[in-house]
Amino acid sequence: MPNSRENLLPAVDPAYCKGCARCIDACLHNCIEMGNEINPLTGLTPVILHLEDCTHCGLCVTACPEPYGLHMDSITDDYSAVRPETFDGVVKTRPKAASIPSTKIPINPGKPILIKGTYASSIGAVLAGCRHFYGYPITPSTEGAELMAKLLPNLDGIFIQAVSEVAAINMLYGTGGAGLPCMTFTSSPGFSLMLEGISYMIGSEVPSVIVNIMRGGPGLGNIAPEQSDLKLVCHGLGHGNTQCVVLAPATPQEMLDLTMLAFELTFKYRNPVIIIGDGYLGQITGKVSLPDYMIQPGLPDWAVYGDAGHRGNLIASIDITEPDLEARNIRLNHKYDTMIKAEQRSDSFFCEDAEILLVAMNTPAQMAKGAVQQLRSEGIKVGLFRPITAWPFPVDALSKLIPQIRQIVVVEASNGQLEDEIRLSLSKAGVTQLPPISFVRRFGGILPQTHEIVEKIHALEGVVA
C-alpha cells in the first residue's frame, strides 16, 4: 500500500506557506514550529516541520488554509521539494462544450389574435424560446408578468416573483449566465432598481430581455404613460461604459415582433436588450398576427450551465488589473460599434417628399401618424420618422432626410429627451446644417394628442392649410 496513511507525511513548499501557524496549533505532537528565516520569494516566514514524532494524523493539513500549502505526501527526505502540480498526480482536463445553435420550428400562425401590448410581448417571448421569467409586479407592466405566470408552468418553464426588482434582475443574470433565454417586465421605478444588475450583465456579457413599460415620473410619479426613461436606456444603463440595443415598439404587433427580435439580438451580441414601451402601449388591446415559426433555444459554449462541457466557464465583470479591464472595455466598445452599424432601425411614413418632419416613438408615433394623415389630406407635405431602435439611434436614415426638411417637430412624452438623442446623433454623424427643431411635448402621464400636433404644424410659419 504505497499510499496508505502510514506512508504519507505532511509536506509543504515554503513558497506556499504563509506562516500563519494554524498547523502548529493543530499538531498534537509539536512537530511543527515557526521558522526563523524570511522566504525571499514571499516575504513571509514559513513553518518548519520536524516529523520524527508524526503520527500521520493529518490535522495539520486540515488546519492549513492554503490549497497548495500543507499536504500529505509520500515520505521523502526532502519534505519541501514537492511541487503543487503533482499533488494528486492528476492533471485535470475537461471536454469543452460546443455551442448548440437554436432551432426554428415551423408553426401554423392561424388567424390574428386580439391581445394587449404586454401580452403580445409575453407571447413573443415564449415563441422566441423563453421559458424563464423573473419579475416584480409594477403597474403598468404587470399584465405581461401575469400572463407569463399563467403560460410558463404549462410549458414546464419557470416563473418566479422575486422579492424586488433588484433580485429579479440578478435571477436573470443567473439564468442568462447559464445561457438560456429569460426576461422580465418592469416599469420606470422598477427599471431604476434594475440598473445595477444591467451594468453587471453588460460587463459580464450576459444576455437577457428587459421590458420597461415607461410611466410618469420622477419618483413615484404616476402609472400613466411617459417616455422619460430615454436618457437612462440610451446613456444611463447603470455605472460604467454601458450600451444596449433599445427597441421601441409602437403597436401590439410590434410588441410581439420586437420581443422576438430582442431574444435574437441578446444572444447575437451576448448583451442585454431593452424594450421600451409606454403605459398606453402596455395596456392597449389590438390585432396581432403570429409568426410562422417558434424557437427552441440551443446552448452557447460560454454558458455556465453546470455540466462537464461548461465547467471551465466564468461569468464575471471584474478585472482587477487595469490592462485587463481596459481590454474588456475595448471588446465591449467593438461590440457597441458593431451594433451601431448593424442594428439601426426606423420607419418612415410619407417621408419621400416631406418638408416638415415629425419624429416620434412608441404610442406618440401613432398620434403623429394620425396627424400626418390629417395634414396630408390638407395638402401639407409632412412626414413621420419613427426610430424603432432608440439606441443605436437610426441616424443614417435620418441624416439622408435632413437636406429636404425645412422644419423638424419632435413629438414626445418627455421634456426633450428624444430631441436630445436626435441632436446628439446628428452632431456625432457630422450633420451640421440642421433645420429648425421645434416640439410637441407632454409629460406627467399625458401623451401628445393628434390634434395638438396638427395645431402645432398649422402654427408653423409658412404653413398654409
Binding site: 500563519c20 410549458l155 440578478n170 444588475g197 453546470g306
Partner: protein, 474 residues
C-alpha cells in the same frame, strides 16, 4: 484530490507564486472554507455539476480557485443569481458563497427571500465580524463594543446588535438544514467540513435549501496574529454566535423539475391561436360614420362592463377584417371607480388609439354622460342608460342621443351583468356600425367557456336593439 484548479490561472494570470497560492492574508478563515468546499465537491463527485457564485467581499475571487462553473455576483445578490442558475439547470449544484457584509447587510432581502423560497441551493456564509476587503469597517455581525474603522469608539447602542443569521434562517419554514460551525481548532474544522458536505449532499438529493454559517478569523482587521484570532473567535464570538445545528429536518417534498416544453401545438393552444375561419357579415367599412377611422368611448363605473363591451366591439371589428384597438383607463381605482374605454376601428390601420372626441359615446351613468357627452363630435351618437341618467349636459346640436333603459332591461332579464350587452344591441340598432350577426358572433366567441349564457346574451342584445329603435331623447 479536491475541486481546486491545478493552477490558479485567473490569479494574476497564474504568474509566479500566485498560480498556486490564494490572495488571502495569512490565517484567513476563507482559505479553510474554500478547502472544505473543494473537498466536499470532490468527495460527492459533483465537480462537473457545481456552479459557485462568488460574492463581493474578500471572497470575490472564489472563482480563481474553484475548478467548477463560476459566476460572480453583484454585492449581496448571490442568492438571486444562484436561483437563476439553479432554475436554468436544476441538475446543477449551486453554491452561494457569501461574507457577512454581502449576506447580512446589503443582501438581506435576497438571502431571506431565497431561504423562505426554499429552492435547493446551498449557502456558505462566512462570518468574521468585520468587513475585510474594504478595510476593516463595521459589519452587521460586529460584536458590541468592538472597534472597527467605522465604529472607532466601539459598536455602541446606536449601532445595534450583531445579527445572528443562522438563527434567523433556522426559524423560517422552508430551509431544511442550518448549522453554525467554526474553524478555530481541529474539532471545529472537522465539523465545519462535515457541515459543508452535508449542505451539498442535501442539494444533491433535491431536498431543499441549506445554510452553513462559518465563524472565521480575520487576523488582519482584528489586529491579531492568526492563532490569537482563533482564540478571539472562540472566546469572544462564540458567546454571541453559539455553534451547532439550528435546524435539520426532513423535507416535506423532494424537488423535481421537468425539462421545458417546446411542443408547438401545446404552445399555440395555450396562447389561444386558432386557424378557424370566423364568418364575416359586413359588406364594407361603416363609412357612414367615418370614411377611415371610427372612435368610440364607453364610460361607466367599474362593474358596468364598459371594458368587456369595448373588447367585444374590437373583436367584432377584427372579425370583420378591419383594424381595431381598445385601451382602458386604468389606475389604482381599477375596481369600483370610474372605468372608461377608448375604441378605434379603422379600415386599414388604427393610428391614434385614444378617443378624446369620439364619434360614439356609450354612457352607463350620469357622471360619465356629464363628462364625455360634450366632447362627442359633430353628427356623433350618444347612447345612454335611461334607467340611471336623467339629464343631459350641453352637447353639439348635430349629435343624436339614444336613451335605453339598460339597467332596467338587464334586471328584468334576471342578470344585471348583461347591461353591457343591452348597450351593444342599442349600439347596433342606433348606429348600424356592424350587422347584428357580427356582434353576436363576437359575443359567442367571448362566451366559449360559458356557452350556457349565450341565449340570455342574445336576448339582452335584441332587447337593446328594440329599445334603441323606440328611444326618445331626454
Amino acid at each position: 484530490m479536491s475541486a481546486f484548479y491545478n493552477t490558479f490561472e485567473r490569479h494574476s494570470h497564474g504568474e509566479g507564486l500566485k498560480g498556486h497560492s490564494t490572495h488571502y492574508c495569512p490565517g484567513c478563515g476563507h482559505g479553510l472554507a474554500h478547502k472544505f468546499l473543494a473537498e466536499s465537491i470532490d468527495e460527492l463527485g459533483i465537480q462537473d455539476r457545481t456552479i459557485a457564485i462568488s460574492p463581493v467581499g474578500c471572497s470575490v475571487f472564489l472563482y480563481y480557485y474553484m475548478d467548477v462553473g463560476n459566476s460572480q455576483a453583484a454585492h449581496g445578490r448571490a442568492p438571486a443569481v444562484a436561483i437563476g442558475h439553479k432554475m436554468a439547470n436544476p441538475n446543477s449544484i449551486v453554491v452561494s458563497y457569501q461574507g457577512d457584509g454581502d449576506l447580512a447587510s446589503i443582501g438581506l432581502a435576497e438571502i431571506i427571500s431565497a431561504a423562505q423560497m426554499g429552492l435547493p441551493i446551498s449557502v456558505i456564509f462566512v462570518n468574521n465580524a468585520i468587513y475585510g476587503m474594504t478595510g476593516g469597517q463595521m459589519a452587521p455581525t460586529t460584536l458590541k463594543g468592538m472597534k472597527t474603522m467605522t465604529s472607532p469608539y466601539g459598536r455602541n447602542e446606536n449601532m445595534g446588535s450583531p445579527l445572528k443569521m443562522a438563527e434567523l434562517i433556522a426559524q423560517m419554514d422552508s430551509p431544511i438544514y442550518v448549522e453554525r460551525v467554526a474553524l478555530f481548532d481541529s474539532k471545529q474544522r472537522i465539523r465545519a467540513k462535515k457541515a459543508i458536505k452535508k449542505a451539498l449532499q442535501i442539494q444533491v438529493e433535491n431536498k431543499g435549501f441549506s445554510f452553513v454559517e462559518v465563524l472565521a478569523e480575520c487576523p488582519t482587521h482584528l489586529h491579531l496574529s492568526p492563532t490569537e484570532a482563533q482564540d478571539w473567535v472562540k472566546n469572544s464570538m462564540l458567546p454571541v454566535f453559539p455553534l451547532g445545528v439550528k435546524k435539520d429536518v426532513e423535507p416535506t417534498h423532494i424537488f423535481s423539475f421537468e425539462k421545458p416544453s417546446f411542443e408547438s401545438g401545446k404552445l399555440l393552444a395555450l396562447i389561444g391561436a386558432t386557424a378557424e375561419d370566423v364568418p364575416k357579415f359586413a359588406n364594407s367599412f361603416p363609412k357612414h360614420i367615418d370614411p377611415l377611422d371610427i372612435s368610440l368611448k364607453l364610460a361607466g363605473s367599474g362593474g358596468d362592463g364598459a371594458q368587456t363591451a369595448a373588447l367585444l366591439i374590437t373583436r367584432t371589428a377584427i372579425n370583420e377584417g378591419f383594424d381595431s384597438t381598445h385601451i382602458p383607463s386604468y389606475g389604482p381605482e381599477s375596481r369600483g371607480g370610474t372605468s372608461y374605454a377608448d375604441v378605434h376601428i379603422a379600415e386599414m390601420e388604427v393610428l391614434s388609439p385614444s378617443a378624446p372626441d369620439p364619434h360614439i359615446l356609450i354612457a352607463f351613468n350620469q357622471p360619465s354622460m356629464d363628462k364625455f357627452a360634450p366632447k362627442v363630435r359633430e353628427n356623433g351618437i350618444i347612447i345612454g342608460d335611461s334607467t340611471v341618467i336623467h339629464s343631459m349636459p350641453a352637447i353639439d346640436p348635430t349629435v343624436k342621443v339614444v336613451m335605453v333603459p339598460m339597467s332596467a332591461i338587464a334586471t328584468e332579464l334576471g342578470k344585471i351583468m348583461v347591461k353591457n350587452v343591452v348597450a351593444l344591441g342599442a349600439l347596433q340598432a342606433a348606429t348600424g356600425l356592424f350587422p347584428e350577426q357580427s356582434f353576436l358572433t363576437a359575443i359567442q366567441q367571448g362566451l366559449k367557456d360559458k356557452k350556457e349564457l349565450f341565449p340570455l346574451n342574445v336576448e339582452a342584445f335584441h332587447r337593446g336593439m328594440e329599445a334603441a329603435l323606440k328611444s326618445e331623447k331626454i
